[in-house]
Amino acid sequence: MSEEPVIICRCNDVTEEEIVALIEEGITDIEVIKRLTRIGMGPCQGRTCIPLVQSIIARRTGKPMEEISSPTSRHPVKPVRMGVFAGEEVEE
Amino acid sequence: MSEEWMSRGYITLEELDGVHPLPGRERLMEGPVAIPECPQEIPCTPCREICPTGAITMERVNDPPRVDYSKCIGCSLCVQICPGLAFFMVHLKEGKARVTMPYEYLPLPRRGERVRLLDRKGEVVGEGVVVMVMTRERSRGDTAVLTVEMAEELAMVVRAVEVMGDE
């Protein structure tokens, strides 16, 4: 059986390998990693993957976690259906 | 303190005695006596609060409980209330040992039922007989309590039981 991939972002199927490859290329800013791999951009809005990526960056760069930035959180902090925001009458 | 027990998940008798000296054989024969197996500094006081004779003391809420064995009347309230299920009661009687312990599994054994005896590591060390069952409803701490009779030498060894079922 081939080895299972190590999935970091369950929303967009981003693997640990992809993250590590970027870090090894010298890209260690989570803001850049986020936009190049699309971690944190799925429906969980980064709740699962962002801390993992932060700790991978910390481990690989030797920086303390305190120095790894945390991407901002924006409205809506949970995905919201457009029909709900729009205020469409709900068919029961 | 090396706190070896934190890497094992169980404490040895010697370590326990080092934290808080255990009652001697004479005291165990006098009548049931509470024994805390709670060596760690954690913020918890129900045992002290419920003890009707003030036998259980701790200076600060984070201190491990200490029992003044001379004041303990063997009421088992501490066994019933302890959130960590870390209080036991031991009594040596007529050449047998009686160990009182919390029990929160199903099925609850009946009085007179034979059960497997487990030590602190969960290893089977013999068999014993349940001589007292206090249900959750009757317990002051919402935890069922059993008293199990066993060979005298197991008094300070056995800390759990396993129901044998219909074998």
Binding site: I7, I8, L52, E66 | R8, G9, Y10, P39, I50, E104
Partner: protein, 475 residues
């Protein structure tokens, strides 16, 4: 796969309802969420992942991750772990990404969001939020509580073990009972409650704070409050390893939700990763439900949780393997095996120490982190603090953040436990009461007492670490 007998819990189940999953009829009990009902019916593989088409199952079971998203009655990406099942509901795992229908009629009319005005809006009805609500209400404030789950109580509702601390702070009482007591107190005071309502934005504008919230994926509410308490609790951490995304690898909290909230057996044999309090307590709870726990593995050289929780499972025969970690989970479509191995001083796996267990569930209890999204979004100053387990808001002694009128309490302010959450909730609730212009000297004394109790509680080795962390965010 529903639990019929339990030493601690009794499950009150609703009437039988039928719904459809991928066209197949599934029986559920009213009151169960979609994902829970599917689990009870033996369905663990909910959907396929985006790129690699790997099977996806539950993970957090409390509406925070994205693992249980399904199409429900035509709406894609519904968090099925928090949406209750309904008779005749059609639930589908969409093949690939959703398609937009060509013939949906355009909207006829838009309704304005339902608006509500209150003094203190409490976001999160767990131990911290409910204590705050009770105290602020007693001071005379009008209080409204929002909670995402179908029932109040936060994570207390799955804590079958008795709590530590002092008896006057409910020590020796089971978490589930404490939840019942707090809910009763809240009800008695007529505090307004919105369940199944997720706050999605917090907008401070001077004296007023506006919060928008979505009820049950359907209605938008707009709350205006003078003070807001964010008590949104925590989220479980995930651990990456090969196979970690297989159905069967769940957060420990998810296993507790299945088993203790809904009375559904999570599996037959469960390997637990992490010997903090959550992992140790979970092991005990699993045994109480009749589930086998072949081992608890812990990467640290010692148990992270309370010794007494470890001793409790150890004497019942569960090995605790310190300095061990999980190296992979494997199985076709779901977990069938998990392999663990010993770690050396440098956290590397020692070759040849692998042990494989036949298990159908791996429960991850590798720590929690504060759920702070709303605070971040609202513009509160944040800081990463290791001792508090993640990014947390700066706050003063009253639990007020850097945004006036926005308070924080409980795990959202730093991971601790339910008892400290209740005390922080008390402090935040009373402080918010004062902020709103209520309260007298007597309440000042209550506030001081809660502070003293918290101080006392934190006066041990564990609390001292927390206090070190708090010092770094105290303003």
């Amino acid at each position: 796969m529903r639990i019929e007998r339990h030493p601690i819990l009794t499950f009150r189940r609703g009437r039988r309802v039928k719904f459809f999953f991928n066209g197949r009829e599934v029986e559920a009990r009213e009151g169960e969420t979609i994902a829970m009902a599917l689990y009870a019916a033996g369905i663990r593989d909910l959907s396929k992942s985006q790129k690699f088409h790997r099977p996806r199952g539950l993970f957090c079971a409390i509406g925070k991750c994205s693992s249980c998203l399904l199409t429900v009655d035509g709406i894609p990406n519904v968090r099925t772990c928090i949406i209750p099942v309904k008779e005749g509901m059609r639930v589908e795992a969409s093949e690939g990404n959703p398609r937009l229908a060509d013939n949906v009629p355009p909207p006829k009319k838009f309704m304005e969001p339902e608006t509500h005005r209150t003094d203190l809006l409490v976001i999160g009805g767990g131990p911290a939020g409910l204590q705050a609500a009770i105290h602020a209400a007693d001071m005379g404030a009008r209080v409204t509580v929002l909670d995402e789950a179908p029932m109040l109580g936060g994570q207390l509702v799955k804590q079958t073990h008795k709590f530590f601390g002092k008896r006057q702070l409910h020590a020796g009482v089971r978490g589930i009972k404490i939840a019942e007591m707090l809910i009763e107190e809240v009800r008695r005071r007529g505090i307004e409650i919105f369940s199944r309502t997720s706050a999605v934005g917090l907008f401070p504008s001077g004296e007023e704070k506006v919060v928008d919230a979505v009820e049950a994926e359907r209605y938008l509410h707009r709350f205006t409050a003078r003070a807001v308490l964010v008590a949104t609790g925590a989220m479980e951490r995930y651990l990456p390893f090969p196979g970690a995304d297989l159905p069967g690898v769940y957060g420990a909290g998810a296993v507790q939700t299945l088993m203790n909230t809904y009375g559904i057996l999570p599996g037959e044999r469960v390997l637990i990763v992490g010997a903090g309090n959550v992992g140790l307590i979970l092991a005990y709870q699993l045994m109480q439900a009749g589930v086998k726990v072949p081992a608890v593995v812990e990467a640290l050289p010692r148990v992270g949780g309370y010794f007494v929780h470890a001793a409790k499972i150890r004497r019942q025969g569960v090995p605790i393997l310190t300095r061990h970690t999980i190296v992979r989970a494997a199985g076709s479509g779901r977990v069938e095996q998990a392999t663990v191995a010993e770690l050396d001083e440098r956290w590397s796996v020692i070759e040849g120490t692998e042990k494989t267990y036949d298990v159908d569930v791996v429960a991850l209890s590798v720590g929690l982190r504060p759920s702070v999204e709303l605070l971040q979004q609202a513009g509160c100053s944040m800081r990463f603090v290791r001792e508090l387990a993640g990014l947390v808001p700066l706050r003063d002694r009253n639990m007020q953040t850097t945004v006036e009128g926005i308070y924080v309490a409980g795990d959202a302010s730093g991971i601790e436990e339910a008892t400290t959450a209740m005390l922080e909730g008390t402090i935040a609730g009373i402080s918010a009461g004062f902020y709103l212009g209520h309260g007298d000297e007597k309440w000042q004394e209550r506030l001081e007492r809660a502070r003293a109790e918290l101080e006392e509680f934190r006066d041990g080795p564990i609390g001292r670490e927390v206090k070190k962390g708090i010092e770094r965010v105290l303003i």
